[in-house]
Assembly symmetry: C2
Homo-oligomer: 551 residues x 2
Amino acid sequence: MKKYSLGLDYGTLSARAVLVEVKDGHEAASAVYEYPHGIMDRSLPNGHPIPPLWALQHPEDYLSAIEIIIPRVLEEAGVTAEQIIGIGVDFTACTVMPVKKDGTPLCFVEGYAENPHAYVKLWKHHAAQKYADRINETASRLKERFLELYGGKTSSEWLYAKLLQIFEEDRSLFEKTDYFVEAGDWLIWQLTGTPSRSTCFAGYKALWNDEDGDISVKFLESLSEGFGAAQSKSCSFPIISTGCRAGELNGEFAKRLGLMSGTPVAAAVIDAHACVPAAGVVSPNQMLIIMGTSACHMLLSESGKSVPGICGVVKDGILPGFYGYEAGQSCMGDHFSWYIKNCLPVSYAEMARERGIDLYSLLREKADKLCPGQSGLVALDWFNGNRSVLVNSQLSGLILGMTISTLPEEIYRALVEATAFGTRKIIETFESNGIKITEIYTSGGIPKKDSFIMQIFADILNRPVKVSSSQNGSALGAAIMGTLAAGKENGGYSDVYSAVVAMGSKVEKTYLPDPQNVSIYERLYQEYCILHDYFGKGGNDVMARLAEIKQ
Amino acid sequence: MKKYSLGLDYGTLSARAVLVEVKDGHEAASAVYEYPHGIMDRSLPNGHPIPPLWALQHPEDYLSAIEIIIPRVLEEAGVTAEQIIGIGVDFTACTVMPVKKDGTPLCFVEGYAENPHAYVKLWKHHAAQKYADRINETASRLKERFLELYGGKTSSEWLYAKLLQIFEEDRSLFEKTDYFVEAGDWLIWQLTGTPSRSTCFAGYKALWNDEDGDISVKFLESLSEGFGAAQSKSCSFPIISTGCRAGELNGEFAKRLGLMSGTPVAAAVIDAHACVPAAGVVSPNQMLIIMGTSACHMLLSESGKSVPGICGVVKDGILPGFYGYEAGQSCMGDHFSWYIKNCLPVSYAEMARERGIDLYSLLREKADKLCPGQSGLVALDWFNGNRSVLVNSQLSGLILGMTISTLPEEIYRALVEATAFGTRKIIETFESNGIKITEIYTSGGIPKKDSFIMQIFADILNRPVKVSSSQNGSALGAAIMGTLAAGKENGGYSDVYSAVVAMGSKVEKTYLPDPQNVSIYERLYQEYCILHDYFGKGGNDVMARLAEIKQ
């Protein structure tokens, strides 16, 4: 009888379940559920308005998802509950919600449905920048040790910036909240009946580290009197390491979902992090870049060092046995989509229609014919701010070098090049801080679909760029975590290396740098760096000032 | 019997004739002729390719034009040849051609039809930048006095940069050329049979000034051995002041055109300059901004001073009795058109179609609803380089502040604002160099048609902006020059003041600054200035380096 692991992948707009064979990682079935409420950034379900820069979700969507996608994959694969040896979950983060003692989301409680603060704050909720600034300034002034682990700056997307926002903007709700829980940990709580915290969320989003533990009440109090209470409200549950068992599926859920009560459930991990084992990355100094609407850069290393501007380094945070580093670019596919939707002329749409191809294929074809440097353009890829290595959400996009002969495909290519320059900046920052990178792996929508973009990345990074064959990377990674939670005794694996070698994806394509392009991109990258430092490191804070005027 | 003056306006793409009543400036008839060869920038008429950045014209078009448009206006107005007391001409400049001793354009001579250098180099021929650089460097090193009159830099569009290009790139053609003549002067030569040079072309484009006369052979030799010959090839004809008679219509032309032999013909003027009297501007410290594809800023003053980055100051150069200052922005309507053609999405085209309005009206309507600063964007208006006050054709456009929420109308508005900031920079440069500006007049296509743009100009300049009612500004100005060439004794005018008061246009609308917008634009202008100086004054020469890589 074949053994399976169930991977649950909670993304930004939908949840996916995959059923994966434990022996070889083969995907037997997959099902997706789009969240009915999606991202709530304009109004609550009852029409109550949401302020600008907010991004909320509805926890109801998370529960509805499993009720639909789990029975569907079981049915599709013709697999029985007994064949499932473990369950793993990955989730976006920091995606945090206020709950009552029993885990009930505050937005389900009477009287709270109209309060935006009662809902889930999605990772891309960007209204807490000023609170992140306060955390960074205070930590820097007090020489807090934790700051080094996050490259010198914490993000407005992370836990304490979001909690400080609630504390300052709705004290009563803050006080009524028993716990603030990562949505991933909350789902595990629902499935197992036992609350816990995954090292992955705690380490990368909640300033926890294995040596010092949680952030001190004293530091939180120095941010605002009374805010020390945030510690017990968010750090009371036991920490469970990545790849370990958080508990077993409780009877009630097992029944509703058609699974076996007692099935081992792994600690949840961040969605991007789950892609690492899925992509077959399991050795030190391999970087995995997940390229989608935004980009995440995951790196395993044997040493833990402070690297300025990275998102974080957490021991055992990505895979057990390694220091896991994370960096990121807030904008990748996102600004390509923005450009295609907002800036392509009617004449191109007509050309595409005449040729019977889509607008994007036409654009890619035209952009692919250009040579590096031919457009005279250079851009900064900060359309969603800059996560690494500047950690500043107030930075914005720039395009330079336009003339009245500039063509749409030239601008598009410049935007693609800018994201590759941004990735190179991250890689160089790691290396200049003593963390070597010997191999580049990629996964996500862009590497699978877009050879035009991938060749530019190989040329600009001046390294071979490998594309992982995994289709549903995060979900496969979650399923691998499920086999570790089960352990060898239950038909799973006892160590991550064996699990990844057996179940991880293979490299399906490698892009090699073209030496001729490399040398021109070398010059353009120097220009990018000058602009990067001028606008990003205090030479001219125009972007922040414009953002302020805009508000 | 009513008296008329004939104004001939030779623009970039077409020539226009107007017949104007001498008494009150009333336009009795108007006719246009589009040049069949237009701007030749890709290939010669026989298919011979033209290198990039070149812009040529065919002198045949200039002659064909008068044969058609002059008889047409006479007929349309029902005016006899006897009623026409004078003829005035305005022309683009520096628009220069090589000719033989008798005035025959070299491109008409056998063996030269395939040589691009044998044709007219249009004002916007931009392939001579490196020769302009050499002129500027050499003049600066030798401390040549003339440099001060042009704000410290001469342009690649001007005479000697274009001639040095011919000298260096086709020595044989340079030597075969008897004279290099401004197209405007050449037309007067054709009409009157006598070659001459107008102070307007000589002063603004050929480094002539009333104190020192023409540029020295010694200086030209210091640019390249043998180039001293350019002086006699371009400076041999007598100088005629703006508003003076260059000669009388010769018999042959009079016959062909149905005019009287001996009709007084005024010295030609630059097209933009002709707009000054046409707009009713005839007092010191009034600035006229002509806003079309590009923008020209004309200013009359009682004192001649060196103003960095202006195009030139010429005594009697615009109107007799004043120092005439000229400054310019290479890109205005040009980059709005670029944006509308290349960057507006299909969804907007559909919206416009549904509402039955054109795309431009829709865009303007949307952009008009935005508040200053709301977009978080700031742009540099250098899509065609920067004429004033940086005088650098290698500068290029910049847009800063984009996020993935940025809308097309926000970018459009930022481009409009950038041109107004550029104008303000010019005004402030005049004033900080002791040349006061008390009134702003505008003429050209944009002021007549676009209240959205004009209100932004008033808000950003923080001054009332007057719109002249003149429809065919340059042509009316040329006709005014015709009445001065005729003089009072022939039914015209003896002084420019009387002529302009009688015939010049009136102010049809005044835009007043909105105090609320003014204060926000004050802050945005500060940002523009920082970027202007950083990218334009050596802080970061990225634009020049990108232009070099592009080549």
